[in-house]
Amino acid sequence: MTRTDTAGRPSGPTPPSGPSTPTTPEEARPTAVTRRLLARSEAARRTSAARVKLWVGAICALVVIIPIVLAQALPLPDANGQDLGNRLAPPFTAGHLFGTDQLGRDLLSRVLHGGQVSLAIGVLAVIVSGAIGVVLGSIAGFYGRWADTLISRLLEAQMSLPLLMMLLLVVALFGPSIPVITFVIAIAQWPEVARLTRSLVLVEREKPYVSSARTLGLNRFTILLRHVVPNVIKQATLVVLLLLAQAVLLESALSFLGAGPQRPFATWGRIISDGQDYVTTAWWMVTIPGLFIVLLVVGVNLLGDALRDRPRRSTASRLRRFVGLRPTTSAPAPTSAPKKETLA
């Protein structure tokens, strides 16, 4: 499938033919605006949209991530320090920017420290699932035959399973420790990465450099590791970024259901679950941690989207542009492998 996001207007690769050959009603009138210019503006618009997404995404994510990372260094009250004389204080009370919860604990401190747990679990899970996915996906794509059959079957079987239910089951049975939760989320997410890597490797495998490398006497494993994987890893990592958003959401759902990391860790899901009983009297206990989740996930999603839509340029050509040289006529390597985004 071609991945043209241009709507309504045909922007095929046909060179600007003479003005006397109108192809669409829009081009019926003689005009100096060639199709090439139109395509260019279309592309320009898309690039600028991607740039806006990139910036907005980065800002949203950083607004959440930076305070979380600095939580230890910031002058905050103890996340678990109770102050029963000051229960359910609304936001902006002295000393408590976000107010306090039902035990008088500072909400800002709890949200930031909880964020450390949620974020750490998300990042770890995504690294593990990315590693499993890339390894299994590239094996399936490169070696084919029974390895492919086995891994693909496993993928399909897992994707048709009740996901959250299985996660809950494992956590309930093996105890909600951080390693178990991380592992469980990683296991839930590897199929996505593996499927993408497999399809990328399938394309890459047929390229001439692979057969040349074989002719030169490299063994297949070396080719896969040294030549094929480096060519697909960049696109695979982009998906991993989108998976981070999902991992954070999954972790918060598990925590909400009481299957998250146990006390004293204050994860976002549990803060919300605790606040559920006070939602009418203390709206901030539910709303604020939720907004943190939304901001982080929106940011990461936008970043992932933008990086995917961004026109790919090689580092060399970017460098050349930076130095001020015109890019050479050789087009950048078309890295347009099938990358059909799937629903989460």
Binding site: E42, L163, V170, L173, G175, I272, T280, V286, V297
Partner: protein
């Protein structure tokens, strides 16, 4: 065609079998004693032994598995510890609630997201479209339990329009449905937009337009006709996922469905009930997937089942 269905049916049953077997192994691997959960923390050793004897928990693992397979074939997974009723029956009693909720949610999602996606595809990259797109991304990023609680407090407590929990009246269906549909609308409308935009840019559409086909027909018959399969697949897959994925929303709204049942079964380590829930939901999920695949030829006459199209 018949062989294709049989093959797919076999695959589906294999998946279900592997799933329930995995769950069987997981349950036995896990620390924790169901006898304690059943008899309570104050039970004496004799009582615990009696409970283990009663449920066959002391038998060798392979023998337990054999018994389990027998039960699986007969569709009788034993008695739920906490409900004191056949486990499968307990699940089946809850199933209509989950089905109702899932069906309402997917219906709402389809009704909203398809026109929205088409609208977005017709005006890609305009300012209003970008705005809607950003809202959709935000909708996709909200944890459903959070939206659920907010909707609940807004429309059941502050402005009491709908009942807060349960399924006593049809009004109780509204809030959980909306909660689930928000995420689905966000996902599916963006998919519709992508598919439709691809088709709007395709040469065949230009040809049809030049032959004087009306814009309405271009949109709904030509472009939508060619986007139907991926959109339908997405809707079906989301529906299948919902049948067991609405756990969180069911808990928030105290919905008496399968989702809140499994949470309770896990808390009480009710092994037969866990097994029955997993069996029923995975059967349903596999069944819905099969139905989706079987519906492809209806949507696109070019598709022949069992040929290369199975991919």
């Amino acid at each position: 065609m018949a062989t294709y269905i049989l093959k797919r049916l076999g695959q589906g049953l294999l998946t279900v079998f592997l799933t329930v077997s995995t769950v069987f192994v997981l349950i036995r691997l896990a620390p924790g004693d169901p006898a304690v959960a059943y008899a309570g923390p104050l039970a004496t050793n004799e009582q615990l032994a009696a409970v283990r004897e009663q449920f066959g928990l002391d038998d060798p693992l392979l023998q337990q598995y054999g018994v389990f397979l027998q039960q699986l074939v007969t569709g009788n997974l034993g008695t739920s510890y906490s409900f004191q009723a056949p486990a499968v029956q307990v699940v089946l009693e809850r199933l209509p609630y989950t089905l109702t909720l899932s069906f309402a949610a997917i219906l709402l999602a389809a009704v909203v997201s398809i026109p929205l996606g088409v609208w977005m595809a017709r005006r890609t990259d305009t300012r209003s479209e970008t705005g809607v797109n950003v809202v959709a991304i935000a909708g996709q990023s909200m944890p459903d339990f959070w939206t659920g609680i907010l909707l609940l407090s807004a429309f059941a407590v502050v402005i009491p329009v709908f009942p807060a929990s349960g399924f006593a009246t049809w009004g109780g269906l509204v809030l959980p449905t909306v909660t689930i549909a928000i995420l689905q609308v966000a996902l599916i409308s963006r998919l519709v937009r992508r598919e439709m935009a691809t088709n709007f840019a395709a040469p065949y559409l230009t040809v049809a337009r030049s032959r004087g086909v009306s814009e309405r027909a271009l949109t709904w018959r030509y472009a939508m006709g060619n986007s139907a399969i991926p959109v339908f697949t997405a809707l079906g897959t989301r529906f299948a996922a919902m049948l067991n994925g609405v756990v969180v929303v069911e808990v928030v709204f105290a919905w008496p469905g399968v989702g809140s049942l499994i949470v309770r079964a896990l808390e009480t380590r009710d092994y037969p009930l866990i097994q029955a829930t997993v069996l029923v939901t995975s059967l349903l999920a596999v069944g819905v997937q099969l139905l989706i695949d079987l519906a492809y030829p209806l949507l696109d006459p070019r598709v022949r089942l069992g040929k290369a199209s199975a991919a």
